[in-house]
């Protein structure tokens, strides 16, 4: 369970997050949606203790993120950030292998190596395993980074816009994989999405943010509503029902 209590954030004099309180139960897929600059990445960074907490408290399974040793948290939460400029010349297999660092402290035995190989296969990277990252396409690199976060094998997996650069097929496969991780392995997935239809199709709950505030929390059925979406995103979009699913026609 992730408990966020009265969290505010100020950066360079600007109020980025306003007094956010939110409780996310363990398990399932939670999608964080909202327009650019709403504060999704900022909130995720705070939850994953990548940026320092200024006010309020955040606890993951009861552990305060700002007072728990980093090495302990690294075995409970994994995060993929939105901007990942990897400048190092590493091979895909090496990068994914570093996802195991919190458990192996660098010594990859047979069991660890098997986990790395499984992650590589799961994200269809087997043919690219020996390639240097700087020789990959944007989507291939993104898959390697997602595989690294997945490989960390944590209860909580947080992904900030993991669909970036992915083509439709890999985007769909990734969402399916996350769904299976939540259903089969009982992992909790927290994911920032821009495609509201992906959120509607795969998430158990959707958290909608705007201007540093949580505007709405609910299931897809509750959130996918023309009026609510207009309040969140600031423009009107058609919502249709196709085969019993709500589909947002946002593109024109």
């Amino acid at each position: 369970m992730i408990e966020i209590e009265r969290v505010s954030l100020q950066l360079q004099g600007a109020q980025i997050l306003h007094d956010i309180s939110l409780t996310l139960p363990k398990g399932g897929v939670t999608a964080l949606v909202g327009p650019n600059g709403a504060g999704k990445s900022s909130l995720l960074s705070l939850i994953a203790r990548l940026s320092p907490l200024q006010t309020g408290s955040i606890r993951i399974d009861g552990m305060p993120v700002d007072a728990t040793p980093g090495s302990v948290l690294a075995r409970r939460i994994a995060i993929l950030r939105q901007d990942n400029a990897v400048a190092s010349r590493l091979r895909v297999a090496e990068l994914v292998g570093f996802g195991r660092f919190p458990h192996s402290r660098g010594r990859l035995d047979a069991k660890e190596r098997a986990l790395v190989a499984e992650a590589i296969a799961r994200f269809d990277l087997t043919d690219l395993a020996d390639r240097y990252l700087d020789t990959l396409s944007g989507g291939q690199r993104q898959r390697a980074l997602v595989a690294m976060a997945y490989c960390q094998g944590t209860d909580y997996l947080m992904l900030d816009e993991p669909l970036n650069n992915l083509d439709m097929r890999y985007g769909r496969e990734l969402m399916g994989t996350l769904r299976r991780l939540a259903d089969g392995d009982g992992r909790s997935i927290l994911i920032v999405l821009h495609d509201i239809n992906h959120a509607a199709a795969y998430a158990d709950r959707i958290v909608a943010m705007r201007c540093g505030r949580v505007v709405a929390v609910g299931t897809a059925a509750e959130i996918i509503d023309a009026d609510l979406l207009e309040r969140v995103f600031g423009f009107r979009m058609r919502v249709e029902s196709i085969g019993g699913r709500r589909v947002v026609l946002h593109h024109r």
């Binding site: 203790r49 980093g70 090495s71 690294a74 994994a78 995060i79 010349r89 996802g99 660092f101 240097y132």
Partner: protein
């Protein structure tokens, strides 16, 4: 590849042991006590010093590049070596009777502070312009170096600091190079934490995400860079370019995973310095050219070649 590089270094060591003023031949070595003495007092220490300093400097460069997340910086030019000189100079002025070990300690502390300042500056530079970091490093190193020269000039110690600013091995004798084993110990330490250093090269946030104590690792890395540089400056003097070109060339061939690259960087660094020292011994035989000068030329050529080969996709 590892095997070839290792063999090349062994060969260089053998050459180094038998090249120089004063004839030495392998055949007479064990029969003639005079020859054995020359070997043990001068040639062997000199060869070991070159190997230790070369490996140490190359790895210090690699670690510094990892910390600065920039492939074009090295301790010898970005202020670490100059700060070390500053520390020695202060030592000479304030505690004239200080031993070599004491001077090394002062040099290490000064190098640590000086490198920390550089890293703080480097982090504020925009990451989109990677060439700004080495440029600022050059200016910073230049400023600290100028300060050292100025103080030395006022204190009438210019002659003395020339010993540290210009690296050379001709003064290396038994009993005068052993501090360099500290560099060897730090190289082993760097290898021990190689995975952590590689993770650090992925950035602070990735490091924190993987549970690394980023600040502690930063300090450890700084200590490795500073102490290796300081000890080398105290014993040999400043040797430029090793820390720059060796990691760059090895990264081309073996990538940035330090666990694999580190031994290769160490061996290549040792080989490069040793080769340049041998070159310095034979070029104007029986006179010697300081290794710092030789490396200045050789290193610059390799560096220019690297720059010219820099392609957009690495």
């Amino acid at each position: 590849m590892h095997l070839c590089v290792g063999l090349a270094l062994a060969l260089l060591c053998a050459v180094s042991l038998f090249v120089g003023v004063g004839e030495l031949s392998a055949g007479r070595l064990f029969g003639d006590p005079e020859q054995m003495r020359l070997m043990l007092v001068s040639r062997l220490p000199r060869t070991l010093a070159a190997v230790l300093a070369g490996a140490g400097l190359a790895i210090a460069g690699l670690v510094m590049q990892t910390l600065a997340r920039n492939r074009f910086v090295e301790p010898a030019t970005a202020g670490t070596a100059q700060s070390a000189e500053f520390g020695i100079l202060l030592g000479v002025l304030v505690f004239p009777a200080a031993s070599l070990a004491m001077k090394s300690l002062l040099a290490s502390l000064a190098a640590l502070a000086g490198t920390l300042v550089f890293l703080v500056i480097a982090r504020r530079l925009p990451p989109q312009q990677p060439f700004l970091v080495p440029l600022v490093g050059l200016v910073y190193g230049g400023v600290v170096g100028a300060m050292v020269t100025f103080i030395a000039w006022r204190a009438d110690l210019l002659q003395m600091i020339a010993v540290w600013t210009q690296g050379e091995f001709s003064g290396v004798l038994r009993g005068r190079y052993e501090l360099l084993w500290i560099a060897a110990a730090l190289v082993i330490l760097a290898w021990w934490v190689a995975d952590r250093l590689t993770i650090m090269s992925l950035g602070e946030q990735v490091s924190v995400g993987l549970g690394l104590d980023y600040r502690r690792m930063l300090l450890l890395g700084l200590a490795i860079v500073s102490v290796i540089s300081a000890v080398t400056v105290v014993v040999i003097g400043n040797i430029p370019f090793v820390g720059l070109v060796v990691p760059a060339v090895v990264a081309r061939l073996a990538g940035d995973n330090l666990r694999g690259a580190l031994p290769l960087v160490g061996v290549c660094g040792a080989g490069l310095v040793l080769a340049c020292d041998i070159l310095g011994r034979v070029l104007r035989y029986p006179y010697e050219i300081p290794v710092g000068t030789v490396l200045g030329v050789v290193g610059a050529v390799i560096f220019l070649w690297l720059l010219a080969r820099q392609t957009p996709h690495g």
